[in-house]
C-alpha cells in the first residue's frame, strides 16, 4: 500500500514522450516501438488526445465588473479583528497532528525558526518559498517532528512527498513507551505521507486534518507546511 507507486519503465517512457523530454535518439526508438506495440500506441493516442482537448477547454469569461470589484475590495480597510488575527498568526506556526488509532498514535509538530536553516535538506529551496518571501513574509525553514506510537515495532519509517516516498531515507528512532520520532526539515508546501512499520505495513493517519484519496485505492495523510507570514496572503 503506497501513495505514489513508481512508474513502470514503459510508462515512464510514455510520460517523458508526452512531456517532450526524450532526446532525438530516444524519441526515434520510441516511435519505432510504437509502430510495433499496438497497446502502447493506443495508450499514447488516448493521453495525447486528452492533453490536446484539455488545452482547448473553454476559458471562463471575466465579468465586466471583475476589475472594479477587486479595486473596490482592495481599497476597503481591513477589519480590526483580521488585523489582530494576522498579528497573532504571523510569528509562528504550530500544528499538531494525531495519527493512528489506539495502537498507533502519530504526532506532527511544526516548529518554525530562522536558526534552523542548518538542518535543511540538500534539496534546493523551491521557488515558491522565494515567491512568498517576495510577498514580504520571508521564507523560513520549518522543522516537522513526526512521532508515532508503535509498541512492538522493530522499525518505523516515514515516506512521503518529502523523501520521494522512500522510507529508507527517513527512519524514526525509538524514544520511550513505544514512541518513535524523527525530525524532518521541510520547505513550505503540501506533502502527503504515510508511516511504514517493520518495512512492510503502510499505515495512514486516520486523524489527519486532511487526507487525500490518491485515486488508486489508498489514502495518504496530507501535511501542509506554510511559512508563517503566508497566512496573511
Amino acid at each position: 500500500m503506497r501513495g505514489e507507486t513508481p512508474m513502470a519503465d514503459a510508462e515512464r517512457l510514455v510520460q517523458r514522450f508526452l512531456d517532450r523530454e526524450l532526446s532525438a535518439e530516444e524519441c526515434m526508438d520510441f516511435v519505432v516501438r510504437l509502430g510495433r506495440d499496438e497497446a502502447l500506441r493506443a495508450r499514447v493516442i488516448a493521453v495525447e488526445r486528452l492533453v490536446l482537448e484539455a488545452s482547448r477547454l473553454p476559458r471562463p469569461v471575466v465579468p465586466d465588473d471583475f476589475v472594479s470589484g477587486v479595486l473596490s475590495r482592495a481599497a476597503r480597510p481591513e477589519p480590526a479583528w483580521r488585523r489582530l488575527l494576522a498579528v497573532l498568526r504571523a510569528p509562528r506556526t504550530l500544528q499538531w497532528n494525531l495519527a493512528g488509532a489506539a495502537a498507533a498514535v502519530a504526532l506532527v509538530v511544526l516548529v518554525v525558526g530562522g536558526g534552523l536553516a542548518g538542518l535543511r535538506t540538500g534539496r534546493p529551496a523551491p521557488e515558491a518559498a522565494r515567491a512568498v518571501a517576495d510577498g514580504g513574509s520571508g521564507a523560513t525553514p520549518v522543522l516537522v517532528r513526526l512521532v508515532v506510537v508503535q509498541p512492538g515495532a522493530m522499525t518505523v519509517a516515514a515516506a512521503g512527498d518529502f523523501n520521494g516516498w522512500d522510507p529508507g531515507q527517513t527512519p524514526l528512532e525509538p524514544v520511550s513507551n513505544g514512541a518513535w520520532t524523527v525530525t524532518v526539515p521541510l520547505e513550505p508546501g503540501r506533502y502527503e505521507y504515510m508511516f511504514v512499520v517493520d518495512g512492510e505495513e503502510w499505515i495512514v493517519d486516520p486523524f489527519a486534518v486532511e487526507q487525500s484519496d490518491d485515486g488508486f485505492g489508498s489514502r495518504n495523510a496530507v501535511l501542509e507546511v506554510r511559512p508563517p507570514a503566508e497566512t496573511s496572503l
Binding site: 473553454p58 469569461v61 523551491p126 517576495d134
Partner: protein, 190 residues
C-alpha cells in the same frame, strides 16, 4: 525577460508606487488565468469568482514586499492556489455539482465548424471537466496548471512548492485517471 513579464514588471513598479490604475491593469491582464484556475480548482460558480478576487486583493496588500524574485504571474498563481486550498479545506469536498454551478459562469464558445463536431467537442469537454473535478485535489491542481494553463514543471514547482519529480508523478496519475474516466467515449461509436 519575456515581453509579458517585462510589462508586468513595469506595472508592478507603478502599482507599488501607489498607482491604482497600474494595479487595475495587472488584474485585467491576469484575471482570465486566475479565474480559470479557481474555477477548475473549486468548480465553476460564484465562489470561484469570489476566491479569484480575494487572491488579487491579497496580492495587492502584499505588493509592497514583492521584489521580483519570481515572475509576477508565478507569485499570483501561488496566492490563488493557496486561496483555493484554504477554501477547499473550509468546505468539505464532494458538494460540488457542475450542473448546478454552471449557471454562474459564462464560457467562451468553442472554435468549431460543424454542428456535429461542436456537439462532440462539447460532450468531450464536459466529460473532461467532470473528470477534472473528480480528481484528488493534489492531482487536480497539478493537471490544471500543466495542461490547462500550459505551465512548465519548473514554474509549477515554484507555485506549489513541490519538487518537479513529484509534480510529474501527480500529472502522470491525473492523466491516467482521466484517460480511464474517458475510456467509455473511445469505446462508443462516434
Amino acid at each position: 525577460m519575456e515581453p509579458e513579464a517585462a510589462d508586468d514588471a513595469a506595472l508592478v513598479q507603478a502599482a507599488q508606487q501607489g498607482n491604482a490604475e497600474a494595479f487595475g491593469a495587472l488584474v485585467s491582464r491576469h484575471a482570465r488565468s486566475i479565474l480559470s484556475v479557481t474555477t477548475r480548482m473549486l468548480g465553476p460558480g460564484a465562489d470561484a469568482e469570489d476566491v479569484a478576487q480575494e487572491a488579487f486583493v491579497a496580492a495587492f496588500k502584499a505588493l509592497p514586499g514583492f521584489q521580483g524574485g519570481s515572475k509576477f504571474s508565478t507569485w499570483l498563481y501561488r496566492i490563488a492556489v493557496n486561496r483555493c486550498t484554504d477554501w477547499l479545506r473550509a468546505r468539505r469536498p464532494g458538494t460540488f455539482s457542475i450542473d448546478a454551478a454552471a449557471d454562474g459562469v459564462a464560457w467562451e464558445p468553442a472554435d468549431d465548424d460543424t454542428p456535429h463536431s461542436e456537439l462532440e467537442q462539447a460532450e468531450l469537454a464536459w466529460e473532461i471537466e467532470r473528470g477534472i473535478q473528480d480528481l484528488p485535489h493534489l492531482y487536480r491542481e497539478s493537471f490544471v496548471l500543466r495542461h490547462i494553463e500550459g505551465l512548465g514543471y519548473e514554474e509549477m514547482s515554484a507555485i506549489l512548492g513541490v519538487h518537479r519529480d513529484t509534480l510529474k508523478m501527480r500529472v502522470y496519475k491525473a492523466r491516467t485517471l482521466l484517460c480511464r474516466s474517458l475510456a467509455h467515449l473511445e469505446e462508443a461509436p462516434r
